[in-house]
């Protein structure tokens, strides 16, 4: 409870982890607020169906609150003037305010415990923090937003947060590297999906490093790092020890 998990990918696409966590938390009966900035609702819905969860049904019964970033952005830019009581979560796109306060208010309202809610633990899932930087948010604003979310969701509501970021070792995107490094220092668990150092392989899509940051909570502990390799299939992902893929054995 109250954990911050960072999903990080380098030279590959780590979105399979997002799909996993989404279906995992929904199946566990948690209330999930999913801020999906890069893909449409149908995309997640179809993949979740393959993993055995129906997003539409979860949305109906109030278990899932889905913010579709693309749709929200279009409503903001092409829609009529919004009502003053309901600011768009992506307000910062207009440039009038430079912080992500509206997005935070949305998240807080979504995960606030309502009467008659029998869900276990709130969860905030964010697909692709790096997009916020592309849309003009300053790195400090993004870090502030995450900080507010952590205080509200992890500490006050005892929920979990899962965030996906992209990073690259020789990336020239300094703002992105700043955000990623800062988040790494404050995460409880880091799942780092990397492409293989030796190049493309059909049977091994990449390797994943699981870093349990025990040093965050207790001063004398060391971080535990485990490395596995993985292969993505249509309905699941198989993990195996390094060098022991099915193609080799």
């Amino acid at each position: 409870q109250g954990r911050f998990t960072l999903l990080r990918d380098t030279r590959t696409d780590g979105s399979f982890l997002v799909h996993h966590f989404l279906s995992f938390y929904l199946r566990a009966g948690c209330k999930v607020c999913f801020v999906a900035l890069l893909q449409s609702f149908n995309h997640y819905s179809i993949v979740a169906q393959k993993l055995g969860v129906s997003l539409a049904a979860a949305k109906e019964r109030g278990q899932l609150i889905f913010l579709e970033g693309l749709k929200s952005c279009l409503d903001l830019l092409f829609g009529e003037e919004e009502q003053p009581g309901q600011p768009s979560p992506l307000q910062f796109l207009r440039g009038s305010c430079s912080d992500l306060r509206a997005l935070f208010d949305f998240v807080r309202a979504a995960l606030a415990p309502a009467d008659g809610d029998s869900w276990k633990g709130p969860v905030l899932l964010l697909d692709d923090l790096s997009v916020l930087l592309s849309l003009g948010a300053a790195p400090v604003a993004v870090l502030d937003f995450i900080h507010y979310c952590r205080v509200s969701v992890c500490c006050q509501l005892k929920g979990n947060i899962v965030v996906l970021v992209h990073s690259n070792e020789d990336s020239e995107d300094e703002e992105n590297e700043l955000v990623v490094n800062s988040l790494c220092h404050h995460s409880d668990l880091i799942l780092w999906a990397e492409g293989l150092a030796t190049g493309f392989c059909k049977d091994v899509y990449g390797q994943i490093k699981i870093i349990r940051r025990l040093s965050l909570r207790q001063a004398a502990e060391q971080d535990v790092v485990q490395t596995y390799q993985y292969k993505i299939q249509d309905r699941n992902v198989t993990f195996f020890a390094r060098g022991l893929s099915a193609a080799v054995l």
Binding site: R11, T12, D13, S40, N42, H43, C73, T198, F200, G206
Partner: protein
């Protein structure tokens, strides 16, 4: 929009086919060999970004192929440019090789080829099962056509489809009626124009009366260049580094909710700030970079004598699924023959003489390092292992 149709299948749109992997409707990019590389074609609702080669010659060709394919399939077109007037772009499209001409010219070739395919390989039998890339028109298909670059498309064929144009310098003279968007005004106008066409012509399904649905192909030429009023290509610290990425994000939203597909060419080699190019890649669905050999030392290198340039696939989308359609070949090159432009697997000629191999080993190592940087959706190697 990405919706799996479970009920009775509606009539298929012209010039499209469903994808086997993710049930999404695919369009041809106009170049069947590029369709192979992209995993079958360009999916409806997605964006294909072409990183221009140094002089923009070959990327312009891909741009025209995309539009020409739209005309032959009867799709609607939206052409935007700040460089040439869209009317002129449409006059310069390559002519399609249709049934009767194709049959006669290539009938002999096709007959010879089919004999080849029947014969099993006797010596190189291990290579029998390697996938073959379609590089020549062996048969006429309804999805993906072949074009003759040396001839122009007949004007009556161009007039047969409905097309919309956006020429920046004409648009700027009109009255601005935009709200305060925090974006480069040229981009903002283009987005408004696209959104207006999509909603007026019913590409977003907003008009249930319209039975005859069609696809809109959007082509944007040289986005990010100076002519659009953006200085990303001139300076390391542009005035508004977020305009281009915001534009792509809003465009992505518009594409996802409508029956359209878009091709954009970007002069990536001119963009100084590489961080912006990384963000642009992350915001696009498919990214293909062209690197031509013109003016480089590879032009005279005997290793590359058959080709005119390399093709780098930087990104392939994962649509509606955990996996993506990535082809096995990462080493791709293109060549422009007199009538045809093709993308092929890069074959290095055999090392026949001592001197060639000595000088070329270094070059091979260098070029292999570039080649091994495969598409971003799968793993990219960072070291070249010399076997």
């Amino acid at each position: 929009s990405f919706q799996r149709r479970a009920g009775p299948r509606p009539p298929a749109l012209p010039g499209t086919r469903p994808s086997v992997r993710h049930g999404q409707v695919l369009l041809s990019s106009g170049l069947p060999s590029l369709d192979c590389v992209l995993g079958g074609g360009v999916a409806v609702g997605t964006l294909l970004l072409i990183e221009e080669d140094k002089y923009g010659l070959y990327s312009n060709l891909l741009f025209k192929y995309f539009l020409a394919e739209g005309i032959v399939c009867g799709h609607d077109l939206f052409v935007a440019s700040a460089k040439e007037h869209p009317d002129n772009i449409l006059k310069e499209l390559p002519a399609p090789l249709l049934d009767d001409t194709c049959g006669k010219e290539l009938g002999d070739e096709a007959a010879a080829k089919s004999e080849d395919f029947q014969d099993s390989m006797k010596i190189a039998w291990r290579y029998q099962n390697l996938p073959k890339m379609e590089t020549s028109p062996t048969m006429y298909t309804k999805f993906g056509h072949y074009y003759d670059v040396s001839k122009k498309m007949p004007p009556e064929l161009c007039q047969s489809v409905k097309w919309h144009s956006f020429y920046l310098h004409e648009e700027l003279s009109f009255e601005p009626k935009m709200k305060a968007w925090n974006m480069n005004s040229g981009y903002a106008r283009l987005l408004q124009s696209i959104q207006r066409i999509i909603s007026q012509e019913g590409f977003d399904g907003s008009d249930p009366q319209k039975k005859q649905r069609n696809v809109l192909r959007i082509g944007i030429q040289s986005l990010g260049s100076v002519l659009w009023g953006d200085d990303v290509c001139c300076s390391d610290t542009p005035e508004d580094p977020h305009s281009l990425t915001k534009f792509l994000y809003v465009l992505r939203g518009l594409l996802r909710k409508s029956l359209s597909a878009c091709i954009i060419t970007v002069p990536a080699h001119l963009i100084q700030n590489k961080a912006i190019m990384e963000r642009v890649t992350n915001l696009s669905d498919m990214v293909v970079g062209l690197e031509s050999f013109i003016g480089s030392e590879r032009e005279t290198n005997p290793l590359y004598k058959d080709y005119h340039g390399l093709v780098h696939v930087h990104q392939i989308p994962r649509l509606n699924s955990l996996m993506c359609d990535v082809s096995d070949t990462k080493d791709l090159a293109f060549r422009l023959k007199r009538k045809q432009f093709t993308i092929e697997r890069l074959h290095l000629p055999p090392d026949l003489s001592d001197t060639v191999s000595r000088a070329s080993k270094q070059d091979l190592a260098g070029s292999a390092k570039l080649l091994s940087s495969g598409c971003g959706a799968m793993a990219i190697g960072k070291k070249h292992l010399d076997f």
